[in-house]
């Protein structure tokens, strides 16, 4: 009986990739908090993850024809998933970064990333248990 890593790990690798990308986007927002005309952006997580495959299903697109091209582990985190934030209080210099909002989003994303890591660790541990039988 072969162990299918993709099936066993489920949506977690794609989520991890997406969360690491979101870290980068929010870091850029915070770095540009004082840059005139900079527009804050964020990853539309739900849409991007749905694109990568629903939880429980295998990642990638379903093919109904043998000649369909497969996707290698989902194509999450493309630039299409980036959306501009709607500013609550637009400033005169055209900057739409709300530092507090970004800080909150960054903290939230860091915790989510860490919990994904924890879940992945659990998956690996159960694999190790299956392999060693102890």
């Amino acid at each position: 009986m072969a162990i299918d890593f993709d099936k066993h790990l489920g949506v977690l690798p794609a989520a991890l990739k997406l969360q690491s990308r979101r870290t980068e986007v929010i870091a850029a927002n915070l770095a540009n908090a004082d840059t005139p005309n900079y527009k804050a952006r964020d990853v539309d997580f739900r849409a991007a993850l749905a694109q990568a495959g629903a939880p429980g299903s295998t990642l990638g697109l379903a093919g109904s024809n043998a000649r369909h091209l497969g996707t290698a582990g989902g194509t999450a985190a493309t630039d299409d998933s980036l959306k501009y934030r709607t500013p609550l209080a637009p400033s005169l210099d055209g900057n739409t970064v709300d530092a507090h909002l970004e800080q909150a989003a960054f903290a939230e994303n860091a915790v989510r990333y860490q919990s994904t890591l924890t879940f992945l660790n659990g998956k690996f541990r159960s694999l190790m248990t299956a392999i060693t039988g102890q």
């Binding site: 991890l16 690491s20 990308r21 870290t23 980068e24 986007v25 929010i26 870091a27 850029a28 915070l30 770095a31 540009n32 908090a33 004082d34 840059t35 005139p36 005309n37 900079y38 527009k39 952006r41 630039d79 980036l82 530092a99 800080q103 960054f106 903290a107 860091a110 990333y113 860490q114 890591l117 992945l120 660790n121 690996f124």
Partner: protein, 139 residues
């Protein structure tokens, strides 16, 4: 794993904010440096920030855009003319010229720069922690 790009982004933010802190320090230090010549008076300096797009990327296409200081502009505030005939630097009519530095504005700028710098430091710290946690995956 969060890419190493984050360190570049946060680092660019830190260096830009430290330039801003530098100019603020210079402006505050020279706020009282009077001169007898209105053209020789110190003028407040302010950095101009711009988004740094890597290479030939179209604006808005890249997720992690760092920040750069595109230049430093001098304030157009007129020097403040003061009548102080006893001042050693006073001109023939007894006037000295003080720089038009707005000290309150500079202090606010300083606080804003220092907060932004702290934000970037926190981003860097968190990214480092997340990367280390990723490296420990499966152990």
């Amino acid at each position: 794993m969060p890419s190493f790009n984050i360190f570049d982004i946060a680092g660019s933010g830190m260096s830009a904010q430290s330039v801003r802190l530098n100019t603020t320090a210079s402006n505050l230090a020279n706020a009282d440096a009077v001169s007898g010549d209105p053209n020789g008076v110190y003028r407040a300096k302010h950095p101009v920030f711009a988004v740094a797009q890597p290479g030939n990327a179209t604006p808005g296409a890249v997720a992690g855009a760092s920040v750069q200081v595109s230049g430093i502009v001098e304030s157009t505030n007129e020097p403040v003319k003061r009548y102080e005939p006893g001042h050693p630097l006073a001109d023939a009519e007894g006037y000295v010229y003080a720089p038009g530095v707005n000290v309150v504005e500079e202090m606010v700028d300083m606080i804003s720069a220092s907060r932004s710098y702290q934000n970037d430091v926190e981003v860097m710290k968190t990214a480092r922690d997340l990367m280390l946690a990723t490296l420990r995956l499966g152990q």
